[in-house]
Amino acid sequence: MDDALLILPMLVPLLFACLAIAVLRWRHVQAALTILNAAILIGLGIALMVVVWDERVIVTQVADWPAPFGITLVADLFSAIMVLLAAIVGFSAAIYSAATIDDRRALYGYYPLFNILLMGVMGAFLTGDLFNLYVWFEVLLISSFVLLGLGGTRAQMEGAIKYVVLNLLSSIIFLTGVGLVYGMAGTLNMADLAVRLRDVEDEGLVLVVSMLFLVAFGVKAAVFPVFSWLPASYHTPPVAVSALFAGLLTKVGVYALIRVFSLLFAEDQAHVQDVLIWVAGFTMVTGVLGAAAQNEFRRILSFHIVSQIGYMVMGLAFFTPLGYAAAIYFVAHNMFAKTGLFIVSGLSHRLLGSFELKKLGGLAKHSPEVTLLFFLCAFSLAGLPPLAGFFGKFALARAGFEAEHYIIVGVSLAVGLFTMYSMTKIWAEAFWKPYPAELPGDFQVRRRQPGMLVMTIPAVIFAALGVAMGVAAGPVFELLERAGEQLADPSGYIAAVLGGEPE
C-alpha cells in the first residue's frame, strides 16, 4: 500500500504522457487525459495525506535494495502536503490549458510535456536520495524548457534563453555539490547523509557544500541575487504556462531548500542562518521594488513571485517548528494566490486583448466576476484579513518574534505594504479607471463564451481555496505545526528510512 502510494504519483503522469502522445492529433482528448491525470494525482495526494496524517513517515525502497544502497522514496507530512498542493495547481492549470492552448502547441506535444513536468515535480517531492533529486529536477526542467519555448515567438525565445542558461548553471552547481557530498560521506541517501555529515571532520568543506546547495536551489527558487531569469521569462509564454510555472517551479526550489537545510545541514544551521535571513530580506525588498516599477500585468506578478519567495526563505531561516509551519503555509497560500492571479491576467487579456496596464481598464464596471476573483487573490497576497495571506504573514511575524529576529519581521511587514501598493496599482489601472478607448464591440460576447467560462473555473478554485485557507487557518496551522515539528526533529524521518527506532 505504502509502496504504491509512493510510486504511483510518478507512474501515473508517465502513463498519461504516453497516452497523450498516442492521441496527439486530438487536442481535446489530450486535454481531457491531462485533467484526468491531475485529478488522479489529487486523489493520490489526499491518500498520502491520510496515511501520513498521524506523523507516520512512509518509505519504500525501490527494487528492494535496502537503504542506503538503493533509491529510497519517502513521504512525511511536508512531502505529502506539497504533493497535494502541486496536484491541485496541475489540475487547475490543465483546465485552463484545455480552454486556451491552440492546436499547433497541442500538436507539438504541449500535453505530454505538461504531464512529464508533473511527474518531475512529484518525484522531487517524494525522493529520499540526493542524486535522484537531481534527476527529477532535470526531468521537470527539460519539460519546462520546452513548454516555455513552445510556439517559438521572439519574446519566448528571448525568455527561454535566460531561463535555460541560468537553470542549467544551477543544475551544474547542484551536481557539483552532490559529487563533493559523495566524496565526503560516501552516500547520497538523505537520511544516511544526515547522520554521516555530523561526523565529517572537515567542517569547512561541509559548509562549502551547503553553500553550493544554497546557490543551486536559490537559483531555482529565484532568490536574491540570482532571480533575474524569472521576471525575464515568466511573462513570455501563454498564460497557462506562466500560471503552471508560477505555481510549481519556484516552490520545488523552496522545497529543496527546506528539505536540505532541515535534514542534511542541521548542524550548520547557525552558520547558514545569517545568510538565509539576509537573502530573505533582500529577496522580499528587491522583488517588491521591481514590481513597483513595472506596468505590465504579468511582469508585476513575476516580480511578486520573487518577493514572496523571500517570505518562504524567511520562515526557513528561523529553523523553528513554527517557522517551518509558516513557510509551508506561505508556500500553499502563494501557490493558490499567484496562480489565481496569473489566470486572472489571462482572463482580462481574453476580454480586452492586452497585458499592458495602460491599455486595460473598466473591468470593475464591465466584468464584475473577474474583478471579484482578482480582489480575492490580490488582497490575499497583500495580506488583508481574513484572507490566507494575512495568516501567513502573522505566523511568520510570530515565528520571527519568538526567534528574536526583529529586523527581518519589520522588513517583511514593510514589504507587505508595498505589495498592497502594487496590487492597488493593478486594481486602479485595470479595474477601476474607465477603459481608455471604445470598448471592443464583441466584449459582451467574449464574456459569455463557453471558453471564457472554462477559463474562469481554475481562478474560482484558487480564490475559494485562498478564502478557505484563511477561514480555516486554525486547523490548517495545527497540521502544519506538526509538519514543522517533523522537519525540526528529523530523527523520525531518519529512523523510518534506515530502519530502527528513533533516537
Partner: protein, 120 residues
Amino acid sequence: METVLAFVIGGLYAAGVFLMLRRALARVVLGIAILTNATNLLIFTAAGLTRGEPAFIDEGETLLSEPYGDPLPQALVLTAIVIGFGVLAFAMVLIYRAYRSVGSEDSDHMTTTEFEDGER
C-alpha cells in the same frame, strides 16, 4: 593523480565560467558543455580514484575484496553524461531558433521583452 585532476577540473570550471560570461550565445553553450564535463570529472575524482581494480567479486568469494573501484560514481557520471548530452542538444537547438527569430546571437540584442510590450 588526484592533484593533477584537481588542477584540470579547476581549469575546466574557470574556462566554462569565462565562456558563460560572454555575450555570444554559442560560447555560452560551449561553456555549459565544458562545465558539465568538469562536474562529471569532479564526481569521479571526489569519490576517489582506484586504478585497475574493477568491482568484481572473485570466484568462490561472497564479498568484494579491497581495494576496488567504487562503481556508484561511475553510474552517477553515466547518468549525468546522458542528461548533460540531452540538455546540451536542446540548448543548441534553442540558440539556433533564437538566432533565427532575433537575427543575432548577441545576448545584448535579446532584451525586447524586458522593456517594451513584446510580441505574444
